[in-house]
Symmetry: C2
Subunit: 443 residues, 2 copies
C-alpha cells in the first residue's frame, strides 16, 4: 500500500461511453412509458385472439435473402475469434423484419399450427441504414398477421385495422389516419389500359399526395411514356378518397379491378364503427413492397405534420412462404413501426416520463429494530397487488420522503416506530397523511 507502483496502478484508464447512433436507449422514466405502450399493444393484439410467437434474432442468410432484397442492410454475425466449427455452420444474419421469419416459421412448423394462424410478434429488428429521426438501426416492430392455406377470407383484411385502432386508442399519439387501398384496382386498370411499365406508373402515382396531380401527370407523360388517354382514368381513380363502398361505384374495366373494388368496399364497410375520418379508402396508395397483391394499408400521424412517413403499414400477400414450402399460403398483415412512432413522439416532446420507479408505495424504515416488521408490512401490501419499495436504511425521515419524491413514488408509508404504534400513509400529491392498515388500505 502507498508504494509508487501501487499508486500508478490506481490511476484507472477510463473509457467514457457514448450513445451508439441508431440504437436508441431510454432513461428509466421514458422506458416506463415505452413499457406501458408495449403492454397496451400486446393486450389489444391478444384481445382479438392473436397468439404470440417469438423467432430467434437471427436467420440463416439463405432464408433472409430468399427474396433478394435489402442485402446491404443485413447485419451478419461473426464470432470475434473464429473457430473450426464456424466454417461448418450456416451463416447467420440479424432479421430485418418479422415477415420473413414468420414465413420461415409457418413453413417449418406447418403441421403443428392451427389455421387460420393469427399471430402477433413484437421484437427488435435490425437494419444497417443511415440513422435519422424515426429511422433507427435497431427498432421494435409490433406485427399482426393472419395466414391460411389456399384461401384467406377477406374478413381478416377488415379485422386488422380495427385491431390497430384499438391499439392506438390507448396511446397518447393524437389523431391518426389510416389509408387503405387494394392493389388489384389500380393494377387492373393499368392492365385494361395496356400500360406495360406497371412499376414505374404505380411508383409515380404513389407520390400523388407529395407532388400533386399535375406533376404526376407530367412524370407519367415524360418519364413513363403514357398517353393522355391512359393518364386521365389513372388520375381519376387515384384521386378517389372515400369512407365506404358507396364512394367506389366506378365501372370496373376487368375482373381484377372488379375484385379489388369489391374487397376494398367490404373492408371499408366493416370499419364503419371507427371514428369518422380515421379510415379512408385512398386509391393512390400502392406501397413499395412487391409482395403485396391486394389490400394495402398505411397510417399517418395527423397531429405531427412535420413527420409524414407511415407509422403503421402492411397489406395482403398471395404467397407468403413460397420459397420455403410447397403450399400456397396467402396472408394479410400489418406492422406498427413502434420505435419509429415512439422516437418521433419523444422527439416532439410528447413523451413525458414522470416516474423513475414502478412503485406505488415507499415504506419508511423508522429504525433498525423495525426492519423485520417493516419488511412484513411490505410483503402484505405486495400480496395485495401493490408495488412496494422498502427504504434500505434508517435515515432521516425527510431524506426517505425526498427519495420517494425523486423517484415519483406517490405514497409514503410510515410503519409503527415501536411495538405499540400505528401505521400512517402520506400521499405526496396532496400532502394528506392518514392512519392505514396494510391489510385494508387502498391507494
Amino acid at each position: 500500500m502507498g508504494q509508487p507502483a501501487e499508486k500508478a496502478k490506481e490511476k484507472k484508464q477510463i473509457y467514457k461511453p457514448k450513445s451508439i447512433s441508431g440504437f436508441p436507449e431510454w432513461l428509466p422514466e421514458i422506458r416506463l412509458v415505452e413499457l406501458q405502450w408495449l403492454d397496451h399493444i400486446r393486450k389489444t393484439f391478444e384481445s382479438y385472439g392473436f397468439c404470440s410467437i417469438e423467432t430467434p434474432s437471427v436467420e440463416e442468410l439463405e432464408v433472409l435473402l430468399a427474396k433478394g432484397e435489402t442485402d446491404k442492410e443485413v447485419y451478419v454475425l461473426n464470432r470475434l475469434q473464429a473457430t473450426e466449427d464456424d466454417a461448418k455452420e450456416a451463416r447467420l444474419g440479424l432479421h430485418f423484419d418479422q415477415t420473413v421469419p414468420l414465413a420461415r416459421y409457418t413453413a417449418q412448423h406447418f403441421n403443428d399450427l392451427v389455421f387460420p394462424f393469427k399471430r402477433y410478434q413484437m421484437q427488435r429488428v435490425w437494419r444497417g441504414e443511415r440513422p435519422q429521426l424515426g429511422r433507427c438501426r435497431e427498432f421494435y416492430q409490433c406485427d399482426i398477421d393472419v395466414i391460411n392455406p389456399d384461401h384467406l377470407p377477406i374478413s381478416f383484411d377488415a379485422e386488422l385495422p380495427a385491431v390497430i385502432f384499438d391499439a392506438f386508442a390507448g396511446l397518447d399519439i393524437g389523431r391518426i389516419r389510416m389509408k387503405v387501398s387494394n392493389r388489384k384496382i389500380l393494377i387492373g386498370l393499368l392492365d385494361a389500359l395496356g400500360v406495360t411499365d406497371v412499376i414505374g406508373t404505380t411508383r409515380t402515382v404513389d407520390k400523388l399526395e407529395k407532388i400533386g396531380e399535375s406533376e404526376v401527370a407530367n412524370i407519367l407523360t415524360r418519364e413513363v411514356g403514357l398517353t393522355t388517354a391512359q393518364i386521365t382514368p389513372i388520375l381519376e381513380l387515384a384521386t378517389i378518397k372515400t369512407a365506404n363502398s358507396k364512394g367506389l361505384s366506378l365501372a370496373p374495366r376487368n375482373a381484377q379491378m372488379e375484385e379489388g373494388l369489391s374487397e376494398l368496399g367490404f373492408v371499408l364497410d366493416n370499419l364503419s364503427h371507427l371514428p369518422e375520418g380515421s379510415v379512408v379508402g385512398d386509391l393512390s396508395i400502392v406501397r413499395g413492397l412487391d409482395y403485396y397483391t391486394g389490400t394495402v394499408y398505411e397510417t399517418n400521424l395527423l397531429d405531427i405534420p412535420e413527420f409524414t412517413s407511415s407509422v403503421c403499414s402492411g397489406g395482403r400477400y398471395d404467397d407468403l412462404a413460397g420459397s420455403f414450402i410447397n403450399r400456397h399460403l396467402p396472408g394479410v398483415g400489418i406492422s406498427i413501426g413502434f420505435t419509429r412512432l415512439f422516437d418521433v413522439l419523444h422527439h416532439f416532446g410528447h413523451i413525458k416520463g414522470e416516474k423513475k420507479s414502478p412503485a406505488d408505495v415507499l415504506i419508511v424504515l423508522p429504525n433498525d429494530g423495525q426492519r423485520t416488521a417493516a419488511a412484513e408490512t411490505a410483503r402484505i401490501l405486495r400480496g395485495r397487488g401493490y408495488k412496494v419499495e422498502l427504504y434500505h436504511a434508517p435515515q432521516k425521515i425527510g431524506k426517505q420522503i425526498s427519495y420517494a419524491e425523486k423517484k415519483g413514488i406517490p405514497h409514503v408509508w410510515f410503519p409503527p416506530f415501536d411495538a405499540g404504534g400505528t401505521h400512517e400513509v402520506k400521499t405526496l400529491a396532496t400532502g394528506a397523511q392518514t392512519p392505514a392498515s396494510p391489510e385494508s388500505w387502498t391507494a
Copy 2:
C-alpha cells in the same frame, strides 16, 4: 398461361428451413407459458420497486471487452455489404450479459439516475458457445441489480433472494435451493493462513459438492501445494451449511473474515421468512467470476437432479463501472438464467402448453347477415376485458366449435342467429350451454 416456359417457372425452388442450433424457438402453446413466466417475473421485480431498463443489443467492442473476458464468444456485427461509412464507425458486438451494459449505462447516465439505482433487465443475450441442454447461444436473462455510489447497504444483499423466491414461487419449477456465501470469509481465511494461490484454492473448494471432501483435500495438497495445517481449517469452513447467523459462530482470524461472517449472518437472518431449506448459507460457494467481492448466490433445481448447474446466480461487486467512470460504484445483482431454466424444464416434460390462442371466447359467426352484430358483441366483451376471437366465416357450427377446441379457447359464444334471438355460451370443458348477455356475462 399454360405455355411451357410458364410451367417451368412454376416449379419453385424450395429451401426447407430448419432450426438453428442454440437459438431456441417455441410453438405458440409453449410460447404462451414462456410469456406467463416472463410476466410473473417482471411483476415480481416491479413489486419490489425495481425499474425497467433496456439497453441496445449491441455495445461497442471497446466496452464489451473492457474486462478482457469471454472474447471468443462475442458475436461481432458486420454489414453484408460494407460501405464507406463502416470504417468510420465503432465496431459493435452483441452483448453477452446484462452486467457490462448496466455498468456502461450507469456510467453514461450517472447524472440522470436516482440512487440507490434499482433496475431490472430482461433481454436476450448472445454467446457463441457450443450449445447443449440449458446452454443456448441466444437466451433470456432476468437480472436485478442495485447500485449506489461509494457505499451500498448490505440490506440489498438480503433483498435480492427474497425477490427471487417470490419470482420462482409463481412458476411451476418444483423445489429450489439457493446457496449463499460471502467471499470475504474464505478469502479472509486464506489470507490468514498465508495461502498464495487463492484462485487455485477457491476453484478447488468450489468443487466440494461434486467431488467430495477427500478429493478436494487431495487436489489442494498435490496440485495447489497446501499443507495439512492449511487444508484442515479450509475444509472445516467450506463444509459449513447453516440457515442463519447462529451457524456461523466460528472465530474470525482477521477483519475481512469477520466482516464476511457478519454480512452473511445479516443476509441469512433477513431471509428467515422463507420456507425452511430454501436458502442455505454454504461456505463452499465462491462463483467463478472474479469481480464478486462479497455476497455470492447460486440456485439449484432440487426436483430435477439430472440438471446440476445453477439457474440463478449473482453476487456483490465492489466496483461495477470502474472502466467507464471515475466514481466508486458498488453493486449487488442476481440473474435468472431464464432460457436455461425454461429449456431444462421443457426438456424434462414439465412445460405443457395447452392453449394455442390467448382467447377466452370464440364468437360463432352464424351467417353473413349477423357479421356486424357479432362483431359488436365481440367489442362489448373486449371492452369488459375479455380476449375474444370472432370466427371469420359462417361455416358449419361444428367446424367453428372444433376450431375453438383445437386452439384451446374455453368458451364458445352463440350470438343471435337472427334479429330477435338470444345469446348463449357453451363452456367446452363441461359442455354446459346457458343464455348470456355480452354486458354481464362472466367467464
